[in-house]
Symmetry: C2
Subunit: 370 residues, 2 copies
C-alpha cells in the first residue's frame, strides 16, 4: 500500500525494526538514557532551549494538555481557526470551561494577521491565543512568523497546534515566542501514533503555576518532576520511544534544513502534479502546505468512490475531506517518509480513478480490473 | 535481561514481530476490522457483554477516564485504598473536584468488606466507590467477589482499577456488577504500554450522561460513537493494536481458565521460592497476588543495592518499593509472558545478591564479578 494520508505516515524499516526490542524497566537506567536522549534531540528539532515533554497520547491529547496546563475556567481565549483542527482546539478549551471567541477564516485560506491584531486590540481581556501551524483538513500552512509577531505585540500566551507541521515546516519555537507547541509522533517524525511532544516556555510555566483547569494525567508539573530523574509519571509507550530514537537518528543525519527543503520540494512536486492533471487545488496557493495537499473533487466525480478506487484498484490510500468538506476534496499526504516515486504513482493512478469514479463507473472498473 | 517487574512485562516474539507491520489508514477498512476484532476479543477477556473501549494512554489515563466520564465535581466518592495505586485513583477523583473519602487499609493487607459496608451505611450520599482489584505496590489482591457484592447491596457506581490484574486474576465484570473496569496493555496482555482498555456498564453510561467533569480526549461518548463506525475519535496507537491482536490470539489459544490457573501456579511458585530462601513475604498470605510478589528487604540489606546487584550482576530486573515502602520491600513480577525458569533464575541469584547488598558489600561483588 502507498499510504498517502497526512498521518500516520509510513515508517522507515529502521523504525519498524526498532520496535522489536524487548521491554525494559521504565523506572530503570536504560529508559532514563532513552528519555534523556530523545528529549534533548527533540529540543533541537523544536528549535527550543525550553522544556520538551513527551506524553503517551495522541496529538489531540497533546492539544488538551496545552489547554489544561495553562488556563483556568473562565479565561478568555481567542481561537484562530482555519479548519477542522483549529475548531477542535477551540472545542477542547470550551470543554474545560474557557471563554472562547472563535476567529474563523474561510476553509482553504490562512489566518490574516491584520484580523488577529484587530481582534486582540478589540478585547484586551484575552489571555491566550490558540493557533494552528498547519491545518491538516485543508492543506493550509499559516504565516506563523507574522501571526506570532502580532501575538507577541500583545504579550498573549500562545498555544500552537503544530501536530502535522513541526519538523517538516520551519517553526523556530523560541525565536517566534511560542509558549506551548504540540507535535504528534505519526507525522513528520515517521513513527507510529501514540506520542505527543510538547514544548513549554517559561511564560507557559508561569501560567501553569496559576492554571486551575482540572488535570492529572496530562499535568506538565509532574512530567517535568519525573523527567528530572529520567522517568515519566506514568508508564510510557516504551516501544514508541524506541521508534522515536531510531527516527531522530535518521532525522539528525539528514539535518533540519534539509528536511525542510525536502518538504518544500515534495509540496511543490505534488501541487505541480495535481495541476498537470487539470485538477484544482483547494488551498490558497500562497499558503499551500508542504505536508498535505487538498484537491477539489471535480464535478461529476464521486469523492468517496474516488478514494475507494484508488485504494482497491491501485493500492494508494488517500484521505477524504473532513466535516463540511466531505466528498468535496481529497487529500494527499506528503510528509515524513515519502519519495517522489510515491507521488508519481498517485499521479499515474489518478486519471484512471477519476474516470472510474465519474458517472458511476467505479463498479465497471472494479469488475474488469483495468 | 530477565524483566521481573509488574509491568511492562516482556512481550512474546509474535507480539514484537507484529509491530513491524507498516502503518495503515486509521480511518480505513483495515483498521476498522482490527478495532472490531480486538474489541470483541477484549469483551470475552473482560467477561462482559457491555461496551469495551480502547484508549491510547497509560493505565493511569484509563483511571482518569473512569472518573471524568461518570462523576461531577462535588460528587461524594468512597476510595477504598490498600496502597499507592488506590491512593492515585483517589487523587485523580480529587483533582477533578470529587468529594473523596479515603477508606485506607494497612499496606500489605486487603480491603475488609465489613469496613466497606460500614462506610457505605454511614454515608448514604456516596455516589461511587473506587476499588483496586490488584494493588501493584504491595502485591495484594482484594477479595473482589465479596467487595463487589457489598457495593452492589448499596447500589453504588463501582469503578475498578484492574490494571495489573485483569485477564490474569478472575474478575467476571458483568457477574460482579463492575461499572467501569480499567486494564492496561503492558500487564497480563503481554504487549508494550500505551493502551488502556475500559469496560463500561449500562449504569456507567447513565452516569456518563449526567457527569459534568471536564473531559475531551477521554470522553467515552465520542469513543463509542466512533467505535460504531470502526474508528477511534483520535489517531490510535496503531502498532499497539497490531501487538494487541497478536497477543489476544495467543491468549485465546490458551483460554482464560488456563491463563488464570497459570497465574495461580506462578504466584504460588514464586512465594514458595521466596519462603524457601528464608525471606519474608510482605502481603497478607490470604490475599497474596498472583501477578506480583512483594518481599521484605531483610535487616542489614540495602534495598536499592539489592536491585542494583540483581540487575548488573545477574541481568534480573526487580522492582523496588514505592512511596513509603521504598527500600523496605522489593517486588517480583510474574504476570503475562513468564515461565517458572524466569522465577528459578531469580531465586538462584537472590542469595548472592542479598549477601552482596548486605553490609555494603555490593561494590566488592561488582569488582570481582563473582
Amino acid at each position: 500500500m502507498n499510504l498517502r494520508i497526512p498521518g500516520p505516515t509510513p515508517c522507515p524499516p529502521e523504525v519498524l525494526q526498532a520496535m522489536t526490542q524487548q521491554m525494559i524497566n521504565h523506572r530503570g537506567p536504560e529508559f532514563a538514557k532513552l528519555l534523556e536522549k530523545t528529549t534533548a534531540n527533540l529540543q533541537s528539532f523544536f528549535q527550543t532551549k525550553e522544556d520538551v515533554l513527551i506524553l503517551t497520547t495522541a496529538g489531540s491529547g497533546g492539544l488538551e494538555s496545552a489547554v489544561v496546563n495553562t488556563l483556568s475556567p473562565g479565561d478568555k481565549v481567542l481561537a484562530v481557526t482555519v479548519g477542522v483542527f483549529g475548531d477542535r482546539f477551540a472545542q477542547i478549551a470550551e470543554a474545560y470551561g474557557a471563554d472562547v471567541t472563535r476567529l474563523k477564516f474561510t476553509m482553504g485560506g490562512a489566518a490574516d494577521p491584520v484580523e488577529v491584531r484587530r481582534a486582540l486590540a478589540a478585547d484586551p481581556s484575552v489571555k491566550a491565543v490558540l493557533l494552528t501551524q498547519n491545518e491538516t483538513s485543508t492543506g493550509v500552512t499559516n504565516d506563523m512568523k507574522a501571526l506570532c509577531s502580532v501575538i507577541k505585540e500583545f504579550d498573549k500566551l500562545l498555544l500552537v497546534d503544530a501536530v502535522s507541521g513541526l519538523a517538516a515546516i520551519d517553526l523556530p519555537v523560541d525565536a517566534w515566542n511560542c509558549d506551548v507547541v504540540v507535535a504528534g509522533s505519526q507525522k513528520s517524525w515517521m513513527i507510529p501514533p501514540g506520542l505527543a511532544m510538547v514544548s513549554v516556555s517559561k511564560k507557559a510555566w508561569d501560567a501553569a503555576a496559576k492554571a486551575k483547569m482540572s488535570r492529572f494525567y496530562f499535568d506538565y508539573g509532574s512530567a517535568k518532576k519525573y523527567l528530572e530523574r529520567g522517568q515519566t509519571p506514568f508508564t510510557p509507550a516504551v516501544s514508541l520511544f524506541y521508534a522515536l530514537d531510531a527516527a531522530l537518528a535518521l532525522m539528525e543525519q539528514e539535518g533540519l534544513a534539509s528536511i525542510f527543503a525536502r518538504h518544500v520540494k515534495m509540496g511543490q512536486y505534488t501541487r505541480d502534479g495535481v495541476r498537470s492533471l487539470g485538477l484544482e487545488l483547494f488551498a490558497d496557493p500562497r499558503y499551500a502546505s508542504n505536508t498535505v495537499t487538498a484537491v477539489k473533487v471535480p464535478d461529476g466525480v464521486d469523492g468517496k468512490a474516488l478514494t475507494k478506487v484508488m485504494r482497491e484498484q491501485f493500492g494508494i490510500v488517500l484521505a477524504g475531506g473532513q466535516a463540511s468538506l466531505e466528498g468535496k476534496i481529497f487529500r494527499i499526504g506528503h510528509l515524513g517518509y515519502v519519495s517522489t516515486k510515491d507521488i508519481d504513482d498517485v499521479m499515474s493512478a489518478l486519471p484512471h480513478a477519476l474516470r472510474a469514479a465519474g458517472s458511476g463507473r467505479a463498479e465497471a472498473v472494479k469488475t474488469t480490473g483495468s
